[in-house]
Symmetry: C2
Subunit: 530 residues, 2 copies
């Protein structure tokens, strides 16, 4: 199988050379003019999973570009590469690992066997074990030392063990409260700054809290440090840490065999941290917070989106199309960053998750074979919820000297069902009106004799929209970006699944703590450490 795939650098593709010749070939402002604009909005639309839709009418594309995108997808064998990945080929070459996060939510291809087991069975078994554990906690079959129910869950993890699960928890908190499926309050401790743990611990009832210790290797310094911090608090409160902590780790980690946990659930080396929200890493805290059914629905939404991501036609595969548009914007239009703008307070931390997902996956300068590449890769990703951002950094997006592509995310309905009519419209309608207005303002601009009030327009955006933020829709949204980032990694020919760039800092920090430093490093350490 593997031998039929050519892993080529982007600039070696004939079709990419065509794409380069199409720089600045589309005026979004013109395309969206008049009634043709409305036709374009309805046409440039791709169904996603979880009831979402990807709309790219305000992107700098036309039929010619779409046709070149298709040629690139075909020439670069993007779908074959995806198939190889989900069928268990070792695509994480640097670390010599398979990449199986899609398998945590469905089976797209053949059975994948590793470590003496069918991996889909393994992930499903973990999910079911978590569900059974959560049910027992919720029903009171598992109780604290005093025979009371646990009310609170607190994740101890950092990076992918924090950002994704936290973003999803916040996305669903109000949904669950409104639906009546809210089970337990969730909190998160991540930073090695001791004030992070101290302030979280001061705000919760320790005696009714289950901590979820998440570390694949069982060796993450921040996480182990925070575990000790928490254990000390538990002991000082006269509580038994083994009654208050579960572990999510790999079966080979030191944590796996420890008697210090109420329970342990497993992931493995084929799930990267930033791709782990649909594994036990997200599963434990989300199942405890919202019940196992909500977590299952979340996986269902992700699986739906995965299935759509195997489609060969670029106009029917939102993740693939989004990836190709992104590469056009990065490598042809030369835009260095992208803003993610969810018009939903529930998604307040979703941009931070995407920031890790995208920048850690594709912020690379060598290809998958370790050869230096001659084009730019991953952009800077940043964002904040709208309408808040409109009163903040949008000034630069509208009138700054660089064009920054935009990803809007919006919903027809809010989660709480509460709303108010002011000046003839609900708040939710105002939110939607602002999204529509911003897309058109960015794309079409406005001429004005006062140059301060002149808007050049031609600032491309796409829109992902749906009915509301639910487990299914947030699952699909998550999977969309995971798959987009994967396709972009294929296009740039980088390994999207390692992160060697984080190692040097770790090594140097260790030598500082060991007192083995000199020169500038010692001088900096002396400024900062008592």
């Amino acid at each position: 199988m593997a031998s039929t795939i050519n892993w080529n650098n982007l600039d070696k593709l004939e079709s990419f050379k065509k794409l380069l010749s199409l720089k600045n070939s589309v005026s979004v402002a013109k395309e969206l003019q008049g009634e043709n604009g409305a036709v374009r909005v309805s046409k440039y639309s791709v169904p996603m999973g979880g009831g979402l839709t990807y709309n790219y009418a305000a992107k700098q594309v036309n039929e010619q570009l779409l046709s070149v995108f298709q040629q690139i997808a075909d020439e670069d064998q993007l779908l074959e590469k995806f198939r190889a990945l989900y069928n268990g080929e070792v695509v994480n070459l640097g670390e010599k690992r398979m990449v199986l996060h899609q398998l945590t939510r469905g089976q797209l291809g053949e059975a994948v066997n590793a470590d003496g087991t069918d991996k889909r069975d393994f992930y499903e078994t973990q999910r079911k074990n978590i569900a059974a554990f959560a049910d027992k906690v919720h029903s009171g079959k598992i109780l604290n030392e005093k025979g009371e129910k646990y009310t609170t869950v607190c994740q101890i993890g950092i990076g992918g063990s924090d950002l994704g699960p936290r973003a999803i928890y916040l996305a669903l908190e109000n949904w669950a409260k409104a639906k009546g499926t809210f089970m337990m309050d969730a909190h998160f401790i991540s930073n090695v700054d001791p004030d992070d743990a101290a302030s979280v611990l001061a705000s919760i009832d320790l005696s009714k809290t289950i901590f979820v210790l998440v570390s694949k290797s069982g060796t993450t310094l921040e996480t182990l440090t925070n575990q000790s911090f928490v254990n000390e608090y538990l002991k000082n409160a006269g509580l038994d840490p083994s009654k208050h902590m579960i572990a999510v780790t790999s079966e080979t980690s030191p944590l796996a065999k420890s008697p210090d946990y109420l329970a342990a659930f497993f992931m493995d080396d084929y799930i990267g941290g930033r791709y782990s929200s649909t594994s036990a890493v997200g599963g434990a805290i989300l199942s405890l917070a919202f019940g196992p059914k909500a977590f299952e629905d979340f996986l269902k939404g992700a699986a739906e989106e995965d299935k759509l991501s195997v489609e060969k036609d670029v106009t029917k595969n939102a993740a693939l199309l989004d990836a190709l548009i992104g590469v056009y914007e990065r490598n042809v239009q030369e835009y260095p960053s992208t803003a993610v703008l969810p018009y939903s307070q529930a998604l307040s931390r979703f941009p931070a998750h995407l920031q890790q997902l995208d920048m850690e996956s594709n912020g690379k300068s060598v290809n998958r074979f370790g050869e230096k590449i001659d084009y730019v890769t991953g952009p800077v990703i940043f964002g904040e919820p709208g309408t808040n951002g409109q009163h903040s950094f949008y000034q630069l997006l509208h009138q700054g000297t660089n064009i920054i592509p935009l990803q809007f995310i919006a919903y027809k309905n809010n989660q709480t069902g509460k709303d108010v009519v002011i000046q003839g419209s609900t708040s939710q309608a105002k939110l939607g009106a602002n999204v529509a207005a911003q897309i058109v303002a960015f794309a079409c601009g406005k001429s004005d004799s006062n140059p301060n009030k002149f808007f050049a327009g031609e600032r491309p955006s796409s829109l992902i929209y749906g009915d509301s933020v639910t487990p299914e829709s947030i699952g699909a949204l998550l999977a969309h970006f995971e798959n987009k980032v994967m396709f972009q990694g294929f296009l740039w020919n980088v390994n999207s699944f390692d992160q060697e760039g984080v190692q040097l800092g770790k090594t140097l920090a260790k030598s500082v703590l060991a007192g083995e430093t000199s020169g500038a490093l010692k001088a900096y350490a002396d400024l900062l450490i008592k």
Copy 2:
């Protein structure tokens, strides 16, 4: 006075032409090598206000560049421009307004009179009125309908009425709790997404809450909408809104004369939203949350930093030097974005405040006279606290294809006083060790025969450090960036104090809500509004 200042575009300066010739003239890796590196760390250091220090040893500068920076500062009359600003010249040309936020915390120059009053007196009077009000609330001289003390304060505002005050509140929450000066819990409602208000209101005891309605004009749609939302909740709870809301607004706004408020405090048109944290906009909520003394100390730190910002020698004026280095990085080195990396969980939202401050101030394409400019202006600003970011987007910072300048912020001590020793070091020491390690890793890189583990280095950073996050130090930190952004605005010759780029979206949103749309705008609105 004004006539002696030349407002020139950056590319018209002779000294800037020199700067252009110094592209890539400094290797940070070389400069930081060996024991000379330690000397450089101790030398390239500028005292700031509030006990902070600005260290630029890991920036791409040397004596030659510093000398050109000085020439630019002199030729472009940066200090004269600052003097004109604080002495009340109308530097916000577009809106024909003075710019007086420094006057909310001290008197740098001459008395400034406007609206029939001395403006320093006006701001001080507001601060004292707020202090007196807060003291009455804290002492129980002002009570709720049932004769109970208020326990909670909730800001209703957006943009500058939200981001700055929220960032400062979060920065000082644990400090105040540890110090015993914590008075009232604070919450914030900003987004027009109704779930924002609904979830905040569901989490607080309305009967004991004072809402702070903040809108300079009294016409901000999001804020007025959220006010109505809150009023409805108050009425439904049998509470009298006028016993639960104070206003912070301008004296000429419709809110100023309303009997609907427990009290009203004033700012004016000379304080831009993103520069308003030291005015009544930050004053009301911070004085209620932490007591008037903490707010006074916060102003003291800002005033200290302002005083240092009038220094002509670029090596003694941290804000000025930071501004010049930033312009070198943006316009000579051509770096399109900057990351802000506070190693303190307390500063979790400080990057979001700086994002507004910087991007809204200097994200402009025309100069202060409305003429199109031929160079790039404000960069994209983004950031998250460390060490969290290390496990997220730092991969791209270390090994991505673009260089992104970095701003580290770190403290020797944490706020809560809680800590734990693991593997021979405290968490706080680990935090400091990581900062030192990251600075050196970014600057010096590491050669490796495995290209995956190769770090090119030459990624410049500066470090602001101090003893701990206190009212004084956070005040100085805030003022540093305000003044840096101001100096950069002078250099780019833009008006840093207006935000015309936010208007078009507002106008289009209004026409959507009025149903006065067609074409693409209507098509988008139809997708998003029920």
